[in-house]
Amino acid sequence: MGQGVYRKDELTAAKELSGGEELSRLETLGISLLSEWDVAIFLYQHGSSIINAGQIALLTGYESKDVSDALNRLESLGLLKCSRASHGVRVYQFMVPTGPVRRECFDELRVLAENRAGRLLLIKSLRSPPPPRRPGTVMVPLK
């Protein structure tokens, strides 16, 4: 299947959650940044990880600081359990939401994000972290 061509059921799933529903689910979970969502899914898939933010950043394609922020945010939301630090790493364990509403929100969003159409909906709904500023670059406002 070529790029930009989606299966009918993927589109149906995406449409079912369109119209701002995915946004409300993200709000229920407390996730506002794409990096938070991606780090959450990374940790969900790996269950328990002994790792640090820099290594997660390498694997997810974000900046270390964004991952650190995301980890802190997820922990504060109760979606992540972190161990003590040992030589710069911690045990990160994703905590599936226990409340029925939050659990349902998470499961629906997770299924939605499994296909490209759903992922695009999430990207639209979530803010991306600001791009890293390279040394020597000057931010020029667009006219």
């Binding site: 269950g47 002994i50 290594q55 161990s83 003590r84 040992s86 790493v89």
Partner: protein
């Protein structure tokens, strides 16, 4: 848990070729190409440890996720998620660098987790990724301080210190680094298990070989490995592997009836229990019928039977037998008879042999019919494997005192110039019964000759038989002796041109070595 200081893997058939298991403190390396089943073996090692031996375990992965391990394991019926919830299993994602550091540090998070669940086994998936970790330390990746070799040694020492029985996987590839690191790891660890994949014609075969295992003996050579849905890995000992039983072969002077009255007399009073008989004849001559009667007679004597066929499905075998009044179904229903059918397509000889042995052992089989040998010849393209299978089966039958019939389809329609032209193993079996066709006055007649019966005073007469209700019946010798088609009136019945005598021929008796007088 332990078996004389051995740790059992719990993987079906693997502990058997390891002669019980692996010495407890041995570090195990599983190596193989991509897709050979390394990760599965490691995960099953942990799973079986938990579920069969109550030994909690840890799986450490670098390149896959716990979600995928859990998903794939579910395909074998293993609920890893539940084991994690029960704190008997922990799947941990990390990097080789972190693992290396973790095993060095006194306050290791990994070892804390291991202690928390009381882990006794650990599987680390991806030892081949460690050179990068070593290189990351700023040293040469292969030799010297901080080298790959030192890193692996350190890893092993750390695991031993924690009393963790470790299984490590290493991918084999054509890349020079992979070959070097794999070989280096092989030197250091105690047990090396290699998983192979071969292409034979258009099929893919899996193999497993114990390359080395310190501190105990094991079955050498390459055995068959299978990945079976809803089960996991299965290892089948290669048929060529010698029998493990004591060298003395049991023997008995007890004879049993075959189920065809006159044949018992011809062969010298039934066959010895534990003897092997080759029934040779062209297709349609009645080999399967004779085999069915042999099994039914066995059942009558209280001897459980096994019929093995690559040609006919059990339902068809039972239907055909019933048309001539041989009720195999009743014996199957009562558990006195078992039928093993396997398609000759892509027959896996090690697995097939193991299935036969399992049936014999589980059901206390005393009579076995293999119907017929020719299908094995076509199913097993390698004649050496075919011969090895036959030898293994004969050897096993002898040690088990199993009375066995092998049906062999002779390609010659009329006349027999040799017993088994494409499979000359007649010297191995104890008895040979030749079933032939003779053409007399433009009519085909079935005839039977006992051409070999070790240790027996048997009769060389060629006798006519018919197949009808009740199965095979040998016609009375002197009946219609003067008739034009009486066998007594002919000579050279086994040639292509029988000749009429006109007077009855004498009876010929034979005594073979060690036989009765």
């Amino acid at each position: 848990m332990t078996n004389g200081g051995l740790i059992q893997t719990g993987i079906d058939g693997l502990d058997d070729i390891l002669l019980g298991g692996i010495p407890r403190s041995n570090v195990i390396l599983v190596q193989g190409v991509a897709g050979s089943g390394k990760t599965l073996m490691g995960v099953e090692f942990i799973y079986r440890g938990i579920t069969q031996f109550n030994e909690p375990g840890i799986v450490v992965v670098f390149e896959t996720s716990a979600a995928k391990i859990i998903r794939d394991a579910a395909g074998f019926g293993w609920n890893l998620e539940e084991l994690q919830q029960q704190k008997k299993l922990q799947i941990i994602f990390t990097t080789p660098e972190v693992l290396e550091q973790e095993l060095r540090s006194a306050d290791s998070l990994l070892l804390e987790i291991a202690a928390g669940i009381g882990a006794q086994r650990i599987f680390i998936d991806g030892l081949g990724l460690f050179p990068a970790a070593a290189a990351g330390n700023g040293h040469s990746p292969m030799t010297g301080p901080g080298s790959y070799r030192e890193l692996i040694r350190h890893l092993i020492e750390s695991l031993l210190r924690e009393n963790l029985t470790a299984m490590l996987s290493h991918e084999l590839s054509a890349a020079p680094d992979s070959l070097v690191t794999s070989e280096m790891a092989s030197f250091i660890v105690d047990t090396v298990i290699q998983l192979n994949r071969h292409r034979q014609d258009r099929r893919s075969l899996r193999g497993i070989e114990i390359i080395k295992s310190r501190g105990h003996d094991y079955d050498s050579g390459e055995h068959t490995l299978r990945i079976t849905a809803n089960k996991g890995l299965q290892v089948f000992r290669r048929v060529q592997a010698p029998l493990r039983q004591k060298l003395e072969q049991p023997s008995t002077t007890k004879r049993s009836a075959l189920g065809v009255d006159v044949l018992d007399t011809l062969i010298g009073g039934g066959v010895f229990d534990g003897s092997t008989t080759m029934v040779i004849g062209i297709s349609g001559v009645g080999k399967t019928v004779l085999g069915a009667q042999f099994l039914l007679e066995g059942a009558k004597q209280g001897k459980r039977g096994l019929l093995i066929s690559l040609d006919e499905h059990p339902a068809q075998i039972m239907r055909n037998a019933k048309t001539i009044g041989l009720d195999l179904q009743q014996q199957v229903d009562s558990g006195m008879l078992h039928i093993l059918f396997e398609s000759p397509q892509e027959l896996d000889v090690d697995a097939h042999y193991a299935a036969i042995i399992r049936l014999v052992e589980e059901h206390g089989i005393e009579r076995m019919v293999l119907d017929g040998m020719t299908s094995y010849s076509t199913a097993l393209s390698d004649q050496k494997v075919y011969r090895d299978f036959f030898h293994a089966l004969v050897g096993y039958s002898k040690h088990r005192l199993l009375t066995t019939f092998f049906n062999y389809e002779n390609p010659e329609f009329l006349g027999s110039s040799s017993y088994m032209p494409d499979f000359p193993v007649s010297s191995i079996v104890d008895n040979i019964i030749l079933l032939s066709m003779a053409e007399l006055n433009n009519a085909l007649h079935r005839c039977l000759t006992v051409v070999k019966a070790r240790g027996s005073e048997h009769n060389f007469d060629t006798r006519e038989y018919v197949i009808g209700q009740g199965g095979m019946k040998i016609l009375p010798k002197d009946e219609n002796a003067a008739a034009a088609q009486s066998f007594e009136s002919y000579s050279s019945l086994l040639s292509r041109a029988p000749t009429r005598f006109g007077v009855p021929h004498r009876t010929t008796r034979a005594v073979t070595a060690g036989g009765n007088k």
